[in-house]
Assembly symmetry: C2
Homo-oligomer: 427 residues x 2
């Protein structure tokens, strides 16, 4: 078993999430990758946060400098955010031959070129999947999976706080102020929510995506940025009447006249796939020359989803550094115990072709009752006595095998004129 040593700087929401997830998943990660990710050192100037995360005494170091000078540590995981100290940490780590994983969108958007330049010069690597879209693998998607594509346009919902507030305003008719208060109470918005609601966080993220997509340096100061605090209940309801929803979109397009990068409230037609991305979910919609349209959707924030992205970077880096070339799915697979279809529990749609005659429903439902199948909905259309008509029932949760047995019996009834149709319901 190869060991890969990491140091974690910062154990706030994301850092403690990474710490706990690495501990919780240590054994399965070893099994999947053949590598043991060893947390050799952790630091945070907030000692309370360190205790709260459950960091072991032997893992604690007083400063990130202790980590950076430890020759055994391969990778620094920078999760303190902000631009000044974080930048120092990363540059010093590169100088000491260490690679870096970060979730720091502000730093990458505002000073990414310095950081990338240093990495190139010192032949170091910096991975940052968690910087945009939380658990959504949009960085890997853009850079690896879409390698042969020209990206034409990115439309994205990449600030969960704003999307949550706009969803509450849209679905529950709330004012901006009330929705913001609820977002704060739920922990979706900071005490000072300006970075989110003024669109700055989304602007950081779209800057990173635009640089990767168009392979050009974007000047963050030139990114046009408008937040959602001016959106009134009026706007939401007028938009609704006109067939639109209001979303905070982060947009990047490359055209003949240059690159356009902006964050702004936007009216989207209700049947647009992004119009249905609600609550604190994020989504990135890409238009490309080869794969056409593609959407990545998921949790754009939160300790666990973001930690999942950080860990995928750590694993990639470890595998790269240790020279692992095989993909992750080759280990020999044990045969699965396959669940028999008949033991599956779900709701069902049943459609019978019956002769329309008094007592038919009673006959069918008595057979269903014998198998403890209870009915939630019935549709029986205009009556045409003596003719064949469809009778539709929805059931409550029932075992597939009971449905099959009951339908087999029902199909023998003289009032049934064709094989009945069973369709399962997935909620």
């Amino acid at each position: 078993m190869e060991v890969y040593n990491i140091g974690i700087v910062g154990v706030g929401t994301v850092g403690s999430g990474v710490y706990k997830q690495l501990k919780r998943k240590a054994s399965i990660l070893k099994k999947k990758t053949g590598i043991s990710i060893h947390i050799k050192a952790v630091c945070d100037k907030d000692t309370k946060a360190v205790r709260k995360a459950g960091v072991l005494k032997r893992e604690c170091v007083p400063s990130y400098r202790d980590m950076i000078k430890d020759p055994e540590i391969n990778c620094i995981v920078e999760l303190i955010g902000g631009t000044s100290i974080a930048k120092n940490i990363i540059l010093e780590a590169f100088k000491k031959g260490k690679d870096v994983v970060t979730a720091n969108k502000a730093l990458l958007a505002e000073e990414g070129s310095d950081v990338f330049k240093a990495a190139r010069k010192l032949n170091r690597q910096i991975f940052f999947e968690a910087s945009v879209g939380g658990g959504i693998p949009i960085i890997k998607g853009l850079t690896e999976s879409l390698v042969s594509n020209r990206i034409i346009r990115i439309l994205s919902i990449i600030n969960g706080t704003c999307n949550y507030i706009l969803t509450r305003m849209t679905h529950d008719g709330m004012s901006f102020e009330k929705a913001l208060a609820i977002a704060k109470a739920k922990g979706y918005a900071e005490a000072n929510p300006s970075l989110d609601i003024d669109g700055i966080d989304a602007a950081h993220k779209i800057t990173i995506l635009a640089e990767l997509a168009f392979r050009k340096k974007i000047n963050f100061k030139e990114v046009s940025c408008e937040g959602i605090s001016g959106i009134k209940e009026w706007d939401i309801s007028f938009a609704d009447q006109l067939g639109y929803v209001v979303k905070l979109l982060a947009i990047a397009k490359e055209g003949s006249e240059g690159i356009e990068v902006r964050v702004q409230p936007t009216l989207l037609p209700k049947d647009h796939i992004l119009a249905n991305v609600n609550d604190s979910y994020n989504a990135v919609y890409l238009m490309c020359d080869e794969v056409e349209n593609m959407l990545f959707y998921g949790r754009g924030a939160g300790a666990k989803p973001t930690a999942s992205a950080v860990i995928s970077d750590i694993i990639d880096l470890a595998r790269n550094s240790l020279g692992f070339r095989q993909k992750l799915y080759l280990p020999s697979l044990k045969a699965a115990h396959t669940k028999s279809i008949s033991s599956i529990l779900s709701r069902h749609y049943l459609r019978f072709s019956v002769i329309d005659r008094p007592g038919v429903l009673a006959k069918i439902s008595s057979i269903l009752g014998r198998y403890s199948i209870s009915i939630s909905d019935v549709i029986q259309k205009e009556r045409k006595i003596g003719q064949v008509v469809p009778l539709v029932l929805l059931t409550h949760e029932t075992y597939e095998k009971h449905i099959q047995q009951a339908v087999r019996q029902i199909d023998k009834l003289s009032v049934i004129k064709r094989h009945s149709r069973v369709i399962r319901i997935e909620e």
Copy 2:
């Protein structure tokens, strides 16, 4: 510049797509990756297909055997499909020290364990992103990005033909037979469409996903599989009345009683994110323990999207084999020419707070007219003469700068009581 030599077996829809895309994108792929992907040999027993794909004479070889014995070829790209010959090609390629890229879902689902076993034994690699979901990076997502997650459930729409037919039945009230005929005419369905409409293609794909997700061998013969040919217009319209849509879902779940893998028509609530995946689009919805819910959506078939996935595998393999460890985004970035926000052309939503008084709309629209801004929609609510009311206009496509200039003038009118609100529309 490092060179990576490949041989392509099969130049049908996908194979010719890969051939053409590699040629078309040769220079940008070199720039992005530092590797020149060189098509050293191509074969297909259908010589007409070879000519149609535009394969150069010097690239043609009579048989895959010529490719496999060529010591300069690093990788065989198997795109003939089917289980028997394809399996031979892949096993022989492994024996000769070559890695493989394939899109062959039938082979991987039915005989994947033999293929993986051989790869392990001979220390070879086989990449197969294109086998499920066309251009959608679901294989990489599952195996790399979600490495620290336990996958709880997969709900997927992974057969574009069935999804197209069900969409036509749902949106246009067509019969199954008519929708199938249109799918055939559009090239979405084969002359013999059984593999698609009977659910077998989807069953192959969900078998592959379930094996990767649960890391267990799934016996393809045990996968429960039901197609869509029994779905009647009735079922679609009854489902609609009850708040559901009918989709062909491929489902995999792991529970305490074992693994459940099945393909079947399913009723989904209309607000489920998969309910809005229409036409020939595919989508894979994952429920995971760390990232919660995630969706990958895109083109599940077609020459260009599928070729994009094949090429991402070839690049991954080339980078792995040549020992490239840096990610793809590090090359130094030239500064972008950023388009000025004022030169952006789009439709706009304008909300004015006006004193409700005759002639107000005329005043506003005359200013808009001066800037050549034309109006598509107006909403003026119940009149309250003398009070402040909202007046909402949607414009046709207009330059942002004209909107800004016009609104600045309008805001100076005495009938305007608050700053006006401008929201762009994205169609």
